[in-house]
Symmetry: C2
Subunit: 92 residues, 2 copies
């Protein structure tokens, strides 16, 4: 399936460390397209694996992670209204 | 159609002002679901109107705005892995 993952990690309670962990795990499974946005084709098994890896790094009271799932990428059209692609990959 | 809009506004060059403007315009047309993420059902005409309103506030070299469009909301499943809903609406 095709997914878009967006996250917002609070800076509270060692948030910067959580942010980096979440970023690194997402990057293993998906493509980075904006500061806190990843996308990509992924299997159900891999998605569950990623979710389990992320779990200890997400604070249920502070952080938000939303995953949009579509059975096929073609069902989702993508437009860039600002710069074409985020070049923040050098951050980590 | 159903859209998910994610934005990343650079803090450079009066970015905080641009961020607030982009936030306010998006909020007129869509629902706020995470710090810099909006979603909602919108017509083609309204989407173009929003895009035109946003244009002067988006710096093509610094800012990133990505719009995912799906013909129907049911084609997109949504999962919350952190807290259920962002409560940052009080910010503005």
């Amino acid at each position: 399936m095709y997914v878009v993952l967006v996250y917002d990690i609070s800076l509270e309670d060692k948030g910067a460390k959580r942010w980096r962990s979440v970023f690194k795990i997402c990057k293993k499974y998906l493509s980075h397209i904006q500061n806190s946005v990843f996308e990509g084709e992924i299997s159900k098994v891999q998605l569950t694996k990623m979710q389990n890896e992320l779990k200890p790094h997400i604070d249920k009271n502070l952080d938000s992670v939303i995953v949009f799932k579509s059975r096929q990428e073609k069902w989702l059209e993508k437009d860039f209204w600002g710069k074409d692609n985020d070049m923040t990959d050098f951050m980590l």
